[in-house]
């Protein structure tokens, strides 16, 4: 019966004593290994582990700027749980995130399908469609801020003056419905090319024979899309949705530049709420508690999705 390598190594180490065993398994200059690994281990500990643990500690303190932290246990988390503005920020974050991701997913698939079909100047169109993704978010958001302006914005100018569709301009960022729709629209505009380009790569990897075989079997275009294309890009789709969900949930720039969470908190999302608590209220402990509040829920979501992806791969 074959003995697994790891088991064999451990037996050897045990039989020869600590140092000698390690030397035998890892090589004569194994101590050098520790020296080489030490810098990166130190970096990870000091730049990731320590700040993260310190953040957890600070979230359990009453910490004001320039003052030492006072430990208050879970008080910040408990107060946040019952805070109406925080609750609305949580709901808004989910509306903003899932509203954006759903539209990005749809538009991304559409973009990939268009770019895999026989169109002229495909490379040119690919480049054009990537512009929103390439442009700096701050620049895009500021442009949209001007476009959405109720009095001077180009959107109202077109709708009221040029096409005369509306009798009076719309306050795009000043009404609860249109404000959230506007920030979602900007996020979708900015993010869908990432979906599209990823799906495009996935679609190009699907063997043409599968489509030919499906066509021979009499499958319609829709059926080919459903039974060949979608399964072919399923794994990419999961990864892209997962990444985009995390990014969108943490998106700060678009909402902050367009509305600062207003009007009346209707577009207040978690990152902006964190920022306002940290730099507006200058309550650093509570701000970190806001940032960490949904971390367990997000971690569980990511773990579930990751497990699902691994299962799919095994199959």
């Amino acid at each position: 019966m074959a003995v697994p390598a790891a088991e064999l190594r451990s037996k050897v180490v045990a039989s020869r004593g600590g140092a000698a065993g390690l030397r035998h398994v890892l090589g004569p200059d194994y101590r050098m290994g520790y020296i080489f690994v030490a810098p990166i281990a130190l970096c990870v500990l000091s730049l990731v582990a320590y700040p993260f643990c310190y953040a957890i500690y600070l979230s359990m303190t009453h910490k004001l700027v320039g003052m030492p932290p006072i430990f208050v246990g879970f008080e910040n988390y408990i107060r946040l749980t019952w805070d109406g503005f925080f609750q609305r920020a949580v709901v808004n974050s989910f509306v903003f995130t899932f509203g954006s991701v759903i539209f990005k997913l749809g538009l991304g698939v559409l973009m990939a399908l268009v770019l895999t079909s026989n169109i002229r100047w495909r490379s040119f169109w690919t480049g054009v469609l990537l512009i929103p993704w390439v442009a700096p978010t701050v620049v895009s958001a500021l442009n949209f801020l001007w476009m959405f302006d109720g009095s001077l914005g180009v959107l109202n100018y077109l709708l009221v003056r040029v096409f005369r569709i509306l009798p009076q301009g719309v306050g795009w960022l000043s009404e609860p419905g249109t404000a959230m729709a506007s920030v979602v629209a900007v996020n979708v505009w900015r993010g869908f090319p990432f979906f599209g380009i990823s799906f495009l790569a996935g679609m190009k990897a699907i063997p043409a024979e599968l489509y030919e075989a499906a066509a021979v079997d009499g499958a319609s275009k829709l059926q080919r899309f459903r039974h060949v294309t979608l399964p072919g890009i399923k794994n990419i789709m999961i990864i892209v949705v997962l990444l985009s969900t995390i990014w969108t949930f943490n998106d700060f720039q678009i909402v902050y530049i367009l509305t600062k969470g207003g009007p009346g908190g209707t577009t207040m999302v978690m990152p902006v709420f964190t920022y306002e608590t940290a730099f507006g209220a200058q309550r650093l402990g509570e701000a970190i508690a806001v940032a960490l509040y949904l971390l367990p829920a997000l971690a569980v979501t990511i773990m579930v999705l990751a497990r699902y992806m691994r299962k799919g791969r095994r199959r």
């Binding site: 320039g66 301009g169 306050g171 207003g262 009007p263 209220a281 200058q282």
Partner: protein, 452 residues
């Protein structure tokens, strides 16, 4: 990566040198570089003391440049290396918070009205210097004293107030035979209704209630104008208790300007601090509340609306007319090892001749914080300066009629009053419910801040 280390790495990869040799030579190069840098640092120190100065970049660019030149001139005169940096409206809080928490604030910083109270634990007591400068200038104006003197200690040296005013299109009012308004209700409402023309996108009033400095300033002074306030005389929350009736009337009026009287443009609830300036300059507003920077923008750029604009006192309500002018000040941080130089720099830029040069370029923005500066003939050189000056002289502060407290400052910084109005206008809440909700937030802040 250092060129020499890269060469060594290539040699190691090509098995030309051993790992041990690689480690040895790398250590020699790294150590040599560290020693070299240390020597260079000491040489730089020998060139003279260094001072980190943070200035505030306002929209009044001419004054910014003058102040920067004055600081540079001081550095040359005193042979001090000045490391100057700017904070802006968008990043001032972040910069100060990050620097203080990192234990690395500048030696001296120009702070806005929130600064002395917010950064008090990190600021040095400058009572002697502040009193000295104030006494030579007739003493501090009451509102400025409230901002910089906390607990009997001067934590900053006052520099200037940014006056606000009510900007009106005099040409449009004259055409309709309307006098400048004194009260919000009914004067401003009637003026707005008679002069506006929505079909031409011309609106009677442009006053956002959104989360912004403009919204904050308005919400605060409209409560005072109706006899209300967020705080009572002892600095305790009074939004939904002591002054409930007055605050309710003020909130109702503010909401009515949008919903009932329809004298505000669509989208006004999404405005930030620049939107009313842009709309006014584009000729789309008959009136708006703003700081003097709007007047500076018109005059310095020879905008055609400059001659048709009149800046008047902020309109009032049943309890009178109120204004909360900003107060900028110099703070010296406790971590500074160059306190004497910091004090010398403050004396230099606050020298009356230098301040006069700065003030002249500001076109009304550099309002007085000292009594003698309010008497400067400059304030009579333009009829529009009178409204601005009077707003400064009657200026109140966050927390009024009580003291400035950290809780009052936080209520401002968190836009609680703007959110209150926003919850009615776009959130669909009744004014009563919005007031109750805001009062609870104010009480929470008071409770948290009372811990110290």
């Amino acid at each position: 990566m250092d060129r020499r280390i890269r060469q060594l790495a290539e040699q190691l990869e090509a098995h030309q040198i051993s790992r041990r040799e690689f480690m040895r030579r790398t250590a020699v190069i790294t150590g040599g570089t560290a020693v070299g840098l240390s020597v260079l640092g000491k040489m730089a120190e020998a060139q003279g003391p260094k001072l980190r100065v943070w200035l505030f970049k306002s929209f009044v660019t001419d004054s910014n440049e003058i102040l920067a030149r004055q600081v540079e001139a001081w550095g040359k005169e005193r042979k001090v290396q000045v490391e100057m940096d700017w904070a802006t409206f968008g990043d001032r809080e972040q910069k100060f918070v990050a620097a203080i928490e990192a234990g690395n604030p500048p030696d001296i910083g120009e702070m806005n009205y929130l600064g002395p109270s917010r950064y008090r634990p990190a600021l040095r007591d400058v009572s002697a210097l502040s009193k000295d400068i104030a006494n030579a200038r007739g003493g501090l104006l009451p509102h400025a004293e409230r901002y910089v003197v906390l607990g009997g200690q001067h934590v900053a040296v006052a520099r200037q107030s940014w006056p606000g005013g009510f900007f009106i299109r005099k040409d449009l009012l004259d055409a309709k035979g309307i006098k400048p308004p004194k009260l919000y209700d009914p004067d401003v409402v009637e003026m707005a209704k008679k002069t506006q023309d929505p079909s031409k996108d011309l609106w009677g009033l442009g006053q956002t209630l959104n989360r912004s400095d403009d919204g904050n300033g308005y919400m605060q002074h409209i409560l005072w104008a109706y006899g209300g306030s967020t705080w009572d005389k002892d600095g305790k929350p009074a939004l939904g208790t002591t002054f409930l009736k007055q605050n309710m009337e003020a909130l109702q009026f503010s909401v009515d300007t949008i919903q009932k009287y329809k004298i505000q443009p669509p989208g006004v609830m999404s405005w930030t601090d620049v939107h009313n300036n842009e709309a006014y300059l584009a000729g789309k507003l008959v009136s708006t509340n703003n700081g003097a920077s709007l007047y500076y923008a018109m005059v310095s750029k020879k905008h055609p609306l400059a001659e048709h604009t009149q800046v008047i006192l902020t309109p009032g309500g049943p309890a009178g007319s109120f204004s909360g002018p900003s107060c900028y000040s110099w703070g010296i941080f406790k971590t500074s090892k160059q306190v004497e130089l910091c004090e010398d720099l403050i004396r230099w830029v606050e020298d009356e001749k230098r301040f006069e040069e700065y003030m002249q370029a500001s076109i009304g923005q550099a309002g007085p914080v000292y009594k003698k500066r309010a008497e400067n003939p400059y304030w009579k050189s333009d009829p529009n300066f009178q409204g601005m000056l009077q707003n400064v002289l009657r200026g109140t502060w966050p927390g009024y009629p009580g003291p400035i407290t950290p809780a009052a400052i936080e209520v401002q910084a968190q836009y609680i009053l703007c959110d209150m109005a926003g919850r009615v206008v776009v959130g669909g809440l009744s004014p009563e419910a919005a007031l109750k909700e805001a009062h609870k937030r104010v009480e929470d802040i008071y409770r948290i801040r009372s811990r110290g």
